[in-house]
Every structure is written in C-alpha cells, then in structure tokens.
C-alpha cells in the first residue's frame, strides 16, 4: 500500500513541475485525518477543541497548534527520521522547539522546488557559499539541511563558512575577493545576521553579474538593528548584488515549507512593479488571524500568522506562529514583527517555576 507521504511527494513534485494542480483542500483534510489518527497529542488537542475529521469540512477548520507546543510535545505521526531543533532559544536545550520529521523525502520534495522557483528562476547553477556550519556540525538544523540539498541539486560547488567558533569572516572575505577577480556569479546563503557581520568587517566586493543571496532570520541574532532597506543597500555596496537578487527567506523549524521574497521571481515573470512580499509554493498557505477570535482579518490588516503546510504531513500541518504580519496582494504576506512581551509592564518576570500540581 502506498503511504500518504509517498503519494504526497508525488503530488508535490507534479505540482512543482506544473504537471498537475494541487487540490489543497482535499489534501488538507486528508492529511488532517492522517494526523488525527496517528499523532496522539495533536488528536487530544483537537478533541478538546471539538474538531475531528468528521466535523472539519474546509482546510480552515483544521486546528492550529502554537509553535510553543513543539517545545513540550513530540508531535509526529510516526518514528522520526530526523529531529530538527530551533536555535538560539534561551532557557537551555529543553526549551528548544523540536520538529520530528518522519519522512525526510517530503521535506526535500517541497524545499528544493520552492528554492529553485524563487531563488533560481533563471535556472542558474552557481557555486554555493553558505554562511552556515556544515551538516556535520549542525545535523539538527533544518536550514543547514536544506542548504546542503540546494548545494547538491543546484550548486556547482559547496563551501561552508561557519565553524564551532561562528562565522569565519576572514576566510569568507578571502573567498569573495578571489571570486571578484574571476567575475563568476555566486550564490550566497545564510542568516541575515551573518551577512551583517560580513558587512561590518568593512570589505567591499563587486561579485559577478547574476550573483545572488538568500538571507533568513531577520533581526534575530543581529548585534545592531538593521532595516530591510539598510540591509539591501549594504548588499549592493559590500557585495555588488542588486536588490532584486537579494531574496529573503521566511522559514521556521516547525515547517517543512518556506516563503520567499517575491522580487526575483516577479522580475523573471515580468511583474517587477508588483509589491515586494513573501510568497509561497502552492502547498503552503498562510492566514492572518485576529488574535482574539482566530478568524481571518480583512486583507491588509495586521494579525497573527497561521501557516498551513501540507508538507508537514508527518507532524502537524497547521502552526500558529509567533509572528505578526499582514497579507499583501492575493498571494503574499509581509512580516511586521515577532510577538513581543507586549504587555507594558515593569514587573515582567516570568513565573517559570510555577507548575501545576
């Protein structure tokens, strides 16, 4: 018998290759049934909310779990082939979120076509320079995993520029200097904070035409605040990479799919005047929700972002993020920020040690 995941991989591949459309709603409900049957913590949560496969009639009916639930429960529909962990969370390893992925194939099947569609729409094949540690150092990082696949699938070579001591700016600088001399195009990818560290070192290069970068993580890890516009200016002044070749990626450890900056894809499609936004492959939808009612807000209004990722079939497909954003156009979103400790309080100490008896 063919498993749901195998079928889904085939469907995603066919969709990515424009061979057949993806019936999002049908898949969403089918995956919900699958998860309800196999993922016991999720099932218990759905039952408490009064939602079962019998009562869910639309993809928007499927209950979302908050990302924080990934810290406390093993949310998987079967034995995990790999466990991805969030990074940078304070509070020790036990406070880090973990995403149990039973079918790595599914992750690969959704990650690569999306990356190609939004970062390499021209079919370029480039040397890949990752401002990241190699998989051997961070086997539990979903981003590192994805970049490794990108390198294998689309790269003409792969180099990693972070080690146990962090980003090796000097080595990266030397490499960029050498590349500048050849005039060859290159793909740079890594955390936004890594690029800012490179810029702060003060070097400036004119990388070959067609060079591009993919950054992710936004303000996280930055030692100083950097606006998006400021970041894009620095990409031009320090690397010679124009704005439209700078593609921001929005991803979460808890999701297998990612959103990407629309700019390069729009340019390739002749839609350069469209607003800059984060767009997704067809198997990832995002709703902007009113925090009080968890109903969708009117277009353009700010709310909590709730992602429905079919590629998360092996865990939980609907994730209520800690990001605030708004919809842009009919296919995009804009991130406004992270949900802060927003209550204006002077006594904002968490009662971390209070536990139910």
């Amino acid at each position: 018998m063919v498993s749901l995941e195998v079928e889904l991989v085939a469907a995603l591949r066919a969709c990515a290759a424009n061979e057949s459309a993806l019936d999002f709603e049908a898949w969403a409900l089918r995956i919900f049934r699958h998860q309800f049957e196999r993922n016991l913590p999720y099932r218990a949560y759905c039952e408490r909310r009064g939602v079962t496969p019998a009562t869910a009639v639309a993809w928007t009916d499927v209950p979302a779990v908050p990302t924080r639930a990934f810290r406390n429960a093993d949310l998987a529909c079967g034995p995990a082939e790999i466990v991805f962990r969030t990074s940078g969370t304070t509070g020790g390893p036990e406070a880090r979120g973990r995403h149990l992925v039973p079918h790595l194939d599914l992750y690969r099947a959704c990650a690569l076509p999306a990356f190609e569609r939004f970062v390499l729409p021209d079919g370029a094949r480039l040397p890949c320079l990752f401002l990241l540690p190699p998989p051997s150092l961070r086997p539990d990082s979903s981003l590192v995993h994805m970049c490794a696949w990108v390198g294998e699938a689309f790269g003409t070579g792969v180099e990693w520029f972070a080690g146990p001591a962090g980003l090796d700016v000097e080595r990266l600088s030397r490499r960029l200097g050498a590349l500048e001399g050849t005039g060859d195009a290159v793909l740079l990818a890594g955390p936004t904070a890594g690029f800012v560290r490179l810029f702060d070192a003060g070097h400036a290069y004119r990388l070959g035409p067609g060079s591009r970068l993919m950054d992710t993580g936004g303000q996280k890890g930055l030692t100083r605040p950097v606006s998006r516009a400021g970041f894009l200016r620095a990409c031009w002044t320090h690397l010679g990479i124009p704005t439209y070749y700078c593609v921001n990626e929005y991803g979460m450890t808890e999701l297998c799919s990612q959103r990407y900056d629309s700019m390069l894809r729009d340019r390739f499609d002749g839609r350069s005047l469209d607003p800059r936004r984060l767009v997704a492959p067809p198997w990832l939808r995002t709703r902007v929700l009113d925090p009080d009612t968890l109903a969708s807000v009117p277009a353009g209004e700010m709310g909590l972002l709730c992602h429905h990722d079919l590629a998360n079939a092996g865990s939980v497909s609907v994730v209520l993020s800690e990001d605030l954003g708004r919809s842009v156009g009919d296919d995009g979103i804009e991130i406004v920020g992270r949900v802060p400790g927003a209550v204006p309080r002077g006594c904002g100490l968490l009662l971390a040690d209070l536990a139910p008896s």
Binding site: P41, A44, Y45, R48, R49, A64, V65, P66, R68, A69, N72, A73, D290, P291, D292, L294, M302, G303, L304, L320, E322, L324, G337, V339, P340, G341, A342, V343, P344, R345, G346, C347, G348, L349, L350, L351, A352, D353, L354, A355, P356, S357
Partner: protein
C-alpha cells in the same frame, strides 16, 4: 536640557537647606494635603487614560488609591521608625512606565527624608509627577521648591550621568535590564527595584467577597504592576474557584472596562492561551478576563489568572522561585510569613487589598524610607491584617 535641570536641582537643594528646621509633622501634613488635591487634578483625569493606555474608569479608580497612601499619621510613624542617620541631600527617582502614579509615593518619601528630589517620569505617565508638584506648590510652596520633575527618554546616558550622578541615592524601578544598566553606571547609590510579580492563596470555597476582591486586584492597573496577581493557589476545589473567578472578573469589567488592546498585546495573550490549551489546561475566557487551570503560569496580561491547585498552604513557598514574588494576597488560609519572607516576599495582605499598599510597604524587602538613608537592613516582609 541638562543645564536647565542642573539649575533646577541647585534651586531645590537651596530650598531644602531653608527647610532644615521644618518638623516632620508639618511635612507629612503638607504631603497628605497635596495628595488630596492631586487626585482631583483635572489634567490627570482627562489626559492620563490615553497616556497610560488605561480606561477612564480605571484612572478614576486608581487616583484615590494612590492618594490614600499619603496618610499624615502613617508618614510620621514611618519617619519615626525608619529615619536614621544623615539624610540624603538629593534623591533621584527613575520611575517605571508601567503603573501610573508612582511619582506620588516617590516624591513623598524623599520629602519625608528631608531630601531634595528629582523625579524622572516613565514614558507612559509624564503627568502624575508635575501634577503632584503643582498640588504641593498650592499647599506648601516651600516644600514644593525642593522637588524637580523631569522626563527624558530612557537610555539618555549623558542626561542620566549628569543628573542622576548628582544624587546621593537613585531609586530605579522598571525592567530588570534597564535598572541593571543604571546600577552598573551609577554604582552603589542605586536602589534597584526590578521586575517582580504577585500571587494569591485562598480556599476553594472562599466566600464571594474574597473572589470578588481577587478579581479587583487582578483588574486594577491592568496587571501591570508588581502587586498585580497573575496566579492564585487554591486549597480545595480549584475548578470551582476558577469558574467563580471568571464570573467575578466579568462583574469587575462592568465597572472597570478593559482598555482596547493592541494587536501585539492580544497576540501575546492568544499564544499563551493556546499553549495552555494545547497542554491540556482548562481555559475559561470571557470579556472580563481569562482564567486558566492546570498550566504553568506566565504573565500574560489582559486580566489573565492562572489557577493552581495547592494541597496545603504550607506548600506555597515551594511553588515559586526565590525573589520573584513581591506580594502574596491571602484569604481563608494560614501561611507562614517568615517562610515567605525567606523566599523573598515583601508583603502579605488580604486578598482585595493587594493594590492598596501602605506608604511603608518594604518594596523589594527594603525599608521604604530607610533605604533612602542607606540603613542596612535584613530582608523585610510587611504583614497587613
């Protein structure tokens, strides 16, 4: 700005010198009279709601509570008990932004100590300090001349070093990180009043007045202060208590409607609620607030209370980390004040009185007035009947 403030401080110090022979009784009476004027200041009731992001009904409820702290007899008793040694010449207060009206006890304590005062208001309440200064000037211009009110954005190091650097004592309240930065720069003169929270303990069958009092404690100040309860430990029927608390929160909301929350505030609340729900907690949501039973508690705001079953009152001190809880509201059970004191609790009071501290409340377990005299002291707890 710095030069102007320096001149004002010079004038305040000179005014202080002129008041050397002033009796404590006279000062206390002036402060009490000023607080009565302050609470009816028309600018406060008209502008404070928007500035502090509170409902007008809430501001109307809070102003008398703040003013009532300045009871002349209580001020005199406090002075007799805690004033010791050489008074400071200049006390600076850096006020937190979360709770309005903090300027009133701050100025009063400095005046009571016989010091000149500079008060730096918090961002969200730049009205209370000037209003109290006005009120004091109306009843006692000489005493008012010892007070300087100011505002500058937090982190303005040049201003802070120049102005706060002159003070003998700097009382800094607010977020731990902000207070720590000041303490690093200004050294031992800083009395740091960082982040703390409050809790309550009650029997499951507590009478209605207790549950209503707790709902009021929760609602007042919109849970922004360190005296605001965010959790209640219930001996007995916790689920039943939670249901009654939800009803009581609704009742309070009719008199004190919550302010409109920002998207970010609503998102913080929603994520906490959904996390609790995912963990199997019972969540009772209504317009008056949220009661959560069976989840580890955080400060969520929006009148959210975590209800924790407690087997026996004696276990209470084991249920929170040391030096995190400022006040414990108690009803219908007996708790060991000394055990709670050792756990860092500064105040023990009846449920329903949590937001009505006396002027001599030993905030952060330090003597309210004695800390301005830098009198060494064992960690204190105030037990209110």
């Amino acid at each position: 700005m710095i030069a102007g403030l320096q001149r004002e401080i010079d004038a305040a110090l000179a005014a202080r010198a002129r008041l050397r022979r002033r009796s404590v009784r006279e000062t206390a009476a002036a402060l009490a009279a000023a607080s009565t004027r302050w609470r009816t200041d028309p600018e406060l009731s008209s502008k404070l709601p928007e500035a502090a992001h509170l409902g007008p009904e809430m501001v109307r409820a809070i102003l008398p509570i703040v003013a009532s702290q300045l009871d002349a007899a209580c001020l005199c008793e406090l002075h007799a008990r805690e004033a010791s040694g050489t008074p400071p010449a200049l006390v600076a207060h850096v006020l937190a932004s979360n709770v309005p009206g903090l300027a009133v006890p701050a100025i009063a304590l400095s005046c009571l100590a016989g010091a000149a005062t500079v008060v730096k208001s918090g961002r969200a309440d730049r009205l209370s300090a000037p209003a109290f200064h006005r009120a004091l000037a109306a009843v006692d211009p000489d005493l008012a001349a010892t007070v300087v009110t100011a505002y500058w954005p937090g982190g303005s190091t040049e201003v802070e070093d120049a102005i706060l650097g002159r003070a003998d004592v700097v009382v800094a309240s607010g977020a731990d990180a902000s207070v720590a930065i000041l303490a690093r720069r200004l050294g031992a003169r800083v009395v740091a009043q960082g982040a703390r929270t409050s809790i309550a303990v009650a029997p499951g069958d507590a009478e209605h007045a207790v549950v209503a009092g707790l709902a009021s404690d929760v609602a007042l100040y919109e849970q922004r202060g360190c005296l605001s309860p965010h959790a209640v430990f219930v001996v007995g029927d916790a689920a039943g208590f939670a249901e009654r608390l939800r009803t009581a929160l609704d009742d309070v909301a009719r008199a004190l409607p919550p302010p409109l929350a920002t998207t970010a505030e609503r998102a913080v609340h929603r994520l906490a609620v959904e996390e609790a729900r995912f963990g199997g907690a019972t969540v009772l949501e209504s317009t008056g607030g949220t009661v959560i039973v069976g989840a580890a508690g955080t400060e969520v705001g929006r009148r959210t209370v975590f209800v924790h079953p407690l087997r026996a009152p004696g276990e209470l001190a084991t249920r929170f980390a040391p030096a995190t809880v400022e006040c414990v509201g108690v009803a219908g059970v007996v708790v060991d004040a000394d055990v709670l004191r050792r756990q860092g609790v500064a105040r023990l009071c009846p449920i329903g009185a949590m937001q009505r501290p006396r002027i001599d409340w030993p905030r952060g377990q330090r003597p309210a007035l004695g800390s301005l005299f830098r009198v060494p002291s064992e960690p204190r707890i105030q037990v209110e009947a």
